[in-house]
Amino acid sequence: MKSFTYSRATSVADAAKTAASTQGARFIAGGTNLLDLMKLQIETPTHLIDVNHLGLDRIEPTPEGGLRIGALVRNTDLAADKVVRRDYGVLSRALLAGASGQLRNKATTAGNLLQRARCPYFYDTNMPCNKRKPGSGCGAIGGISRSLAILGVSDACIAQHPSDMAVAMRLLDAQVDTVGADGVARAIPIVDFHMLPGDTPHVETALKSGEIITSVTLPKPIGGTHVYRKVRDRASYAFALVSVAAVFGKDGGSRFALGGIGAKPWRTPAADAAASSGAKAVAEAALNGARTTHHNDFKKTLVERTLASLYRHKEARS
């Protein structure tokens, strides 16, 4: 690890201001992603602002009937929250499918949304990587790409977004609440929060310099049967090859979001519209425009089969 200085933020406004005015400053929440990357010197902040003591760890109902989840709520607590279990089951399920018990006890809502790529070439500092070192090239294109994305990719980067939680957040149309360096609050719809790589894969989110996430807000519950299915190389404690979050509505209206296959959590209106036509139709709609490699072409089949298993699960339950 490169050396850095450390401070505990005393208020949200203070955190945002310090972050914007201190070159090389970063927020630290659970630290489970940032510290991992700092040990490898993929991240080299010169100052860490600890945001753990700002009281951003509450889950509260909103006047609109939704739920406001503090940025520092731990993944364990969010998954176990009574209201989340009852009204947003797909979110509980997605969280519980991620990482390990120890990691979920530390990992936070904001940190989870902001976790960085798991591309093996991003982690190997001897290899070119446009995300880690803009302009250096992409080791994964033409390299080993089995785990990587097939949707939203570019000629500069094909990394998949690794989060499980973010897939459920995308499905539920969450909104990311922030405060900027100027102290002004804004709300970013989750669909606009993560950026596609394009020519600038190092720009990963819509956050501006110093901007701090204060909460993530869910709209009012949509009912239906909530499911999250994750397919991975081992039964637990592994990132998704493919994951599907779904809510099957009673009226036939359903929605789907996919993980493990997109440069960001993936959801398309066409896939939701195809719900009544079954798994094959949904898969076809969702995978429209997919760009695969020899190594990860299997993910297309896996998406269809995972969807089919969700449909069977839903039928068994209704």
């Binding site: 201190t22 279990r85 399920r93 404690y237």
Partner: protein, 211 residues
């Protein structure tokens, strides 16, 4: 910041850093006045309660909780396997919850209560989980064992608290089963594959607690 950076660097290269970081026990009964950061050294005062004992450290902010325990407090029961959150050997219980001590900074835990394997029980007075691991042969080389035991103790608490897992069929009905224990222990890798015996040990302790 650049000058500060240099000072800390050169300081760290000298053995002075090691001496300065030696643990200092709080004098009995002394009011714990919180020391402030020493200007210019980059060292930060950290106060922890480890296994019931209050300790005061001066640490480089880079020090992980794991390194603070092992290198500064010489509590070497907690192991370093991967140092990346991938094995669970470093599992300790902080403020009642199990975490990977390798992926957190000691300075982030100023004021926290930490329990390590040394604090769960002693050779003369074993924790029931430690005894059960011995009875059921829940290890071979033993390297992962401190982490396994800390995790196992916390897992039974999590089940008792009704925290669901990936394999819980109904999120509101959390109960004990082998598949629950296996899923919840997946963050602790055992290279010797003592898994079946670990599950047996956990079931043993869970039964005892229930009775």
């Amino acid at each position: 910041m650049p000058s500060d950076h240099l000072t800390r660097r050169s300081l760290l290269q000298g053995s002075a850093a090691i001496a300065a970081a030696a643990p200092a026990l709080a004098p009995a009964g002394a009011a714990a006045a919180r020391p402030t950061a020493k200007e210019g050294t980059g060292m930060i005062p950290v106060e922890l309660t480890v296994n019931g004992r209050e300790v005061h450290l001066q640490l480089d902010p880079r020090t992980t909780l794991l390194d603070a325990l092992r290198e500064h407090l010489h509590l070497t029961g907690t192991k370093k396997g991967c140092d990346q959150g991938q094995c669970g050997a470093c599992t300790v219980i902080v403020e009642g919850r199990r975490i990977n001590s390798c992926l957190t900074l000691a300075v982030m835990h100023d004021g926290d209560k930490v329990t390590t394997i040394e604090g769960l029980g002693t050779p003369d007075k074993l924790h029931p989980m430690q005894r059960a691991f011995i009875t059921h042969d829940g290890y071979q080389c033993g390297y992962c064992t401190p982490g396994q035991i800390c995790s196992a103790v916390a897992v039974l608490d999590e089940i008792a608290a009704g925290i669901p897992s990936h394999v819980t069929p109904d999120l509101d009905k959390v109960s004990l089963s082998d598949s629950e224990l296996r899923e919840r222990m997946s963050g602790n890798i055992c290279r010797c594959a003592a898994y079946p015996n670990i599950i047996a040990a956990m079931n043993d302790v869970a039964g005892e607690t229930k009775a």
